[in-house]
C-alpha cells in the first residue's frame, strides 16, 4: 500500500538525479551555444521553415527555429533565453526590446505585413461578417490577445463591428495562433481568427479576409537580439530574410511586404 505512494517519490528523486547529470555534462551546453536559434511568431511557422531551408541550402548553415507567441518570447528572452533573432508578429514588441536593451538598436525592420482572416470548416457556418453579426455559431477561437498580435487584431475587429459584447461568451482562447488554428482544425470551434498564411495553402474550410479597415495593420518586425549580436549566422539570416528569395516565400503565404504597405 505504501509501495504505491512511495514509488512516485522515489522515481522523482531518480529523475532529479538524471537531470543533474545532464546539466553537468559539459558537451551538452556547448552544442546548444553553437547553433543559431531563432524565435518565430507562430503565424510565420510555414514560411520560416521554407526560408530556413533555403538559407541552409545557400549558406550551409542550419538554424534552429522555435515557434510561439510573440508575448511568450518576450518574457522568455527577458529571462535570457538563448535566441539570436526574433521574428515577431508585431512592431511594438521588437521596439520595446530595443528600448530595454534586449535587442540591437539598428537591426529592426518589417519583414512582413500580416493579414487576418476568419476561418471555419463547418459548412453550416460560412465565415464572414454576416455570421459574426448574427452570432449563429457555438465557439469562436481567438489567440490570447495579451500575447498574440493576431488575437488582439481579432478582438479589435469584433469591437469595430460592434459585436464584441454579444460574442464574448462564445470566445475560446488559444495560447498562440497555432493553437487557435488547431481548435478550428479539430472541429471543436466553428470559427477562428487566424493568419492568412496558415490557411492560404490549405484546401480545407473557407476563410473570410478581414478588411484592413477593421484592425490596425500588423507590421511584423524582425530584430537581432542581444545574444545574437556577435553571431554572423544570425546577421546573415536577417540579411537573407530581406532578400528576393525570402520575399518570394513571404508573398506566397499571403503576406504584404513593407514596400507594398
Amino acid at each position: 500500500m505504501t509501495g504505491f505512494t512511495m514509488s512516485p517519490f522515489r522515481s522523482l528523486a531518480l529523475a532529479a538525479l538524471g537531470a543533474l547529470v545532464l546539466v553537468a555534462e559539459p558537451g551538452n551546453s556547448k552544442a546548444w551555444a553553437d547553433d543559431t536559434s531563432i524565435a518565430v511568431a507562430a503565424n510565420f511557422t510555414e514560411p520560416a521553415k521554407e526560408i530556413a531551408q533555403l538559407f541552409e541550402d545557400k549558406t550551409g548553415h542550419p538554424v534552429l527555429l522555435s515557434f510561439g507567441s510573440t508575448g511568450q518570447f518576450y518574457i522568455q528572452i527577458k529571462q535570457e533565453a538563448p535566441f539570436a533573432v526574433l521574428l515577431a508578429a508585431d512592431g511594438e514588441t521588437p521596439k520595446k526590446m530595443v528600448d530595454e536593451g534586449l535587442a540591437m538598436a539598428n537591426s529592426r525592420f518589417t519583414y512582413a505585413v500580416g493579414r487576418l482572416v476568419l476561418w471555419g470548416k463547418n459548412p453550416k457556418v460560412p465565415a464572414g461578417e454576416a455570421v459574426l453579426k448574427s452570432g449563429a455559431f457555438e465557439k469562436l477561437a481567438v489567440a490570447n490577445p495579451a500575447l498574440a498580435p493576431y488575437g488582439a487584431a481579432g478582438l479589435e475587429t469584433l469591437h469595430k463591428l460592434g459585436v464584441y459584447e454579444a460574442l464574448a461568451p462564445k470566445l475560446v482562447q488559444g495560447n498562440n495562433i497555432a493553437q487557435t488554428f488547431e481548435f478550428v482544425s479539430s472541429g471543436n470551434a466553428d470559427l477562428g481568427f487566424v493568419a492568412l498564411s496558415q490557411v492560404i495553402t490549405k484546401a480545407e474550410g473557407q476563410y473570410w479576409l478581414v478588411p484592413a479597415s477593421l484592425y490596425s495593420p500588423i507590421f511584423q518586425d524582425a530584430v537581432l537580439l542581444h545574444k545574437g549580436a556577435e553571431d554572423p549566422v544570425a546577421k546573415a539570416f536577417l540579411e537573407f530574410l530581406r532578400g528576393p528569395e525570402a520575399l518570394k516565400v513571404i508573398e506566397k503565404y499571403g503576406y504584404g511586404t513593407a514596400s507594398a504597405g
Partner: protein
C-alpha cells in the same frame, strides 16, 4: 478573477474525486479480486496516465470530445456539437487523468484485506453486498482516504490536459494552473507569485496531512 479560478479549480477537483470514488471503487474491487488472466491489461490501461505526456491525452481528448467523436454526439443532447472548452469536458479529462491515483491505492487496500475476513463474514451468512459494505469498505478506509486525497490534489495540479482542451475561458475552464501560466506569460508576476505560492503551500499541507493521517489510521487499523 482570482476567486473565480480558485472556485472553479476546487469545483473541478471535488466533482472529479467524487466521480472517481464511485467509478473507481468497482474497478479497484474487480482488479483486487478477479482471477481473469487479462486483468493486468486493464490495470495497465488505468495506469497509463501516469506515464503518458499530458499532450497525448490532450490530443486524443480533443478528438474524442469534438464533433467527430462521442463527446460531440453527447453535446448534441443539449444543442452543442463539442465538449471541448466546456466544464463537462474538463471533468471527463480529469477523471481519466487522475484515475490511477484513486484506483491504485483502493485496489491495494482491497488486496491487503485478503480472503480471510470475507470468508469469515460469509460463514456468518453475510451476502456478497453485505460483505462488501460492512467488511471490505471499512477495512479499506485507508486506501480510500489516500485515493481521495491524491485524486483531488492531482486534479488541482492538472495543467497540460486543461491547456489543450480548455481554451482558458474564465469561469468555465480557466483553472488555477492555467491562470498561473497566463499570468507568467503576460508578465504579471505579482499575481503569479501569489497564486504559485498558494499552490505550493496547499500541496505541502495536503501531502503532510495525508502522511500524518495514514500513520494514525494505520496504527488504529492494525
Amino acid at each position: 478573477m482570482l476567486v473565480q479560478s480558485i472556485g472553479l479549480t476546487l469545483q473541478l477537483a471535488t466533482l472529479t474525486t467524487l466521480i472517481l470514488l464511485v467509478v473507481g471503487t468497482p474497478i479497484a474491487w474487480w482488479l483486487a479480486r478477479s482471477t481473469a488472466w487479462w486483468k493486468e491489461a486493464v490495470a495497465t490501461v488505468v495506469a497509463l496516465p501516469l506515464v503518458l505526456p499530458p499532450t497525448v491525452l490532450g490530443f486524443y481528448l480533443l478528438l474524442l470530445l469534438g464533433p467527430q467523436g462521442p463527446g460531440g454526439w453527447l453535446a448534441e443532447l443539449w444543442g452543442g456539437h463539442s465538449l471541448a472548452f466546456t466544464f463537462q469536458g474538463l471533468v471527463i479529462g480529469s477523471v481519466l487523468y487522475s484515475m490511477p491515483f484513486v484506483v491504485q491505492p483502493i485496489r491495494n487496500a482491497f488486496e491487503a484485506i485478503g480472503d480471510r475476513p470475507l470468508e469469515v463474514a460469509a460463514t456468518l451468512r453475510a451476502g456478497p453486498f453485505d460483505r462488501f459494505f460492512t467488511v471490505a469498505l471499512p477495512l479499506a478506509r485507508r486506501g480510500f482516504l489516500t485515493g481521495a486525497v491524491l485524486g483531488f490534489a492531482h486534479t488541482v495540479g492538472e495543467f497540460g490536459v486543461v491547456l489543450m482542451i480548455g481554451g482558458s475561458i474564465p469561469g468555465q475552464t480557466r483553472v488555477l494552473s492555467v491562470a498561473i501560466y497566463d499570468y507568467v506569460e503576460t508578465g504579471d508576476w505579482g499575481t503569479a507569485h501569489l497564486l504559485a505560492g498558494g499552490m505550493l503551500a496547499f500541496s505541502f499541507v495536503v501531502i503532510l496531512t495525508m502522511m500524518m493521517l495514514e500513520k494514525r489510521i494505520g496504527r488504529a487499523g492494525s
